[in-house]
Amino acid sequence: MPKINLQIALNYIGSNKKLTAVASLGVVLGMAIYIFMNSMLAGFGKKSDESIFKTTPHVRVFSEEQLSRPLAKDTSHLAMLINPKIRPKTNKIINPTQLIALIKGLKDVRIATPQVSQNVFVNMGLSQLSIRAVGIIPDEADQLFNLTATIVEGKVEELDRSSNNVVIGSGIARKLGIRMGDNINVLSSKAITRNFKVVGIFQLNNKREDEGKMYIHLKAAQQLMKENEAYVTDINVQLSDAKFSKQISCLLRSMIPYQAEDWESANETAMAAARMRTIIINFVSTAILLIAGFGIYNILNMTVSQKINDIAILKAMGFEGKDVVSIFVTQAMVVGMMGVSLGVIVAVLMIKLLKKVYIGGDIGYFPIEFELPKFLQGIVFGFLITFLAGFIPARKAAQVDPVSIFRK
């Protein structure tokens, strides 16, 4: 581009300082809010995933309860009397050791750990609570759900020391008035009663979990079910990256006769809410940035109308259409550049400020981070809109017919 085009563009910016400032301010706000909202969205997403992974593995393998089916394959010519019902004892996974070995052999799988879930009653004096007792291998489950981070008293490793140890939710402790070291009486569905010693209390800030879940050792859970060591109800699988979950669950479903559920399907409601959030925030932030584009379009259009004589003279002196386009697009890009760079600074300040705001509950501090991809996305998008907002009036300017101006 000849240097003279740049000089003319800068001159026009200088002679319209107020309008330029207003247009840039529009871009500053649009840019800042775009980056800010998208960073917030990413922060929310991370936080929400984090809290899901406290209770849900990437992939859970389990045996689904199935309705009994007729034994005959072709039933079209038969009169049948059937009474479909859930087959008993089908939620057991057969030969879990071999299956775990198989899953562990897959690419991207980090951990595969067995689990036995059951509903039990906890008795404490006259009070009784129905609770889900989860039998785990403590160190593997700790890696998977990061249990240690949720423990408020005691330790998860204590579960390894004795199969009579238990880690309970803080809600249970409060309801039954239990403290560390107390004994609780557990009654299983197979009518086994056993005393457990409380060696840890966890708190997820999630009422359902805190009031309805306790962890015991896998062996203790098997004993409560009157089963041997081969009894496993779920296999929890952790991958190197959560994004492979869908793929791996699909693969597992085709390989083994059990249900394999990825974390997104298991939390469909949360996922749908996240998708809604994404749509709304993208829509709003894009609209705001577009409005900033209208600001630039407006000032450019006005400059083109004001400078229509200049454009005619420039064309008479031998400036080509593309020179005229470059003059006005440069003007738009300078406004955009000022707006985008200031907007990035404002976004950084806003994020810094909001990071310090305490929300409380499960969330803690406001879940927002400096998301570099969102910054880059915003900058690229900001410049794209600026370019378009400048290009449309610039093309109009390039099409000015000098003769019609001179003959007026």
């Binding site: 000849p2 240097k3 003279i4 000089q7 003319i8 001159n11 026009y12 200088g14 002679s15 004589n309 200049d310 005619a312 003279i313 420039l314 064309k315 008479a316 002196m317 031998g318 400036f319 080509e320 259409g321 593309k322 020179d323 000098p402 003769v403 001179f406 003959r407």
Partner: protein
């Protein structure tokens, strides 16, 4: 004699509001170094012809040659190049870029051409302004000058690329008699000593009579040369 400009059966129609033939088979030649004026009543087509000669109006029939080169049918960008290097314009309403200094206004066509360095262009622009007696006003913004002064700056600008042709649309139309005299003398000087060709449309019969040659137009035709 070298021919600077030649037309071959140039014609033009306006279609709005009704079909109207403004120019009919205009044929003439302008020699290099000639000072030509075109006169005629309003609506005789002289300005329309000038804008066709200037290459800015491309909607006509017939052929136009500038510097023995056919320019009819060239692309808009090629025409812009020709205007930039070979033609200088002086308009009735002086048409300077108001927010630039006089010096910058004069420099712009040369900066666009890009053949010389900025320093050389600036030196040349000062020379042209000097020639027109405007050197001391060089750094003033264009909008701070009187009409006659602006017109002289516009002439300096038309001269900066040493064009073959200088075209004027009523170059003295807005000026008092003193400034008209100055502009006339400048044009005459350019034609005689620089051997530059001047084509100017004018209403001023006095101005026309003093030029080398006058073309009179009526109803789209040349009626007298």
């Amino acid at each position: 004699m070298d021919i600077a400009l030649k037309t071959n059966n140039i014609g033009k129609c306006f279609y709005d509001p009704i079909k109207f033939q403004v120019l009919k088979e205009v044929n003439f030649e302008v020699r290099k170094g000639e000072f030509l004026t075109m006169v005629g009543k309003s609506g005789s087509g002289k300005s329309t012809l000038l804008y066709i000669l200037s290459t800015m109006d491309t909607d006509y029939s017939g052929d136009l040659y500038i510097d023995n080169q056919l320019v009819t049918g060239k692309s808009l960008d090629q025409l812009a190049q020709i205007r930039n290097s070979k033609i200088g314009f002086v308009f009735q309403f002086h048409y300077l870029l108001q927010e630039f200094t006089c010096l910058k206004n004069v420099m712009i066509p040369a900066l666009r051409l890009g053949k010389l360095s900025t320093e050389e262009i600036e030196y040349k622009a000062y020379n042209k302004l000097e020639m027109l007696g405007m050197r001391d006003q060089a750094l003033k913004p264009a909008n701070k000058l009187s009409g006659g002064q602006q017109q002289r700056v516009a002439i300096a600008r038309a001269l900066i690329n040493e064009p073959l042709l200088i075209m004027g649309d009523e170059p003295t139309g807005n000026l008092d008699s003193k400034n008209t005299q100055i502009v006339f003398e400048i044009f005459q000087e350019l034609a005689r000593s620089n051997h530059q060709t001047i084509v100017a449309v004018t209403h001023d019969n006095d101005f026309a009579q003093k030029s080398d040659r006058t073309i009179e137009m009526l109803d789209g035709k040349i009626i007298r040369e």
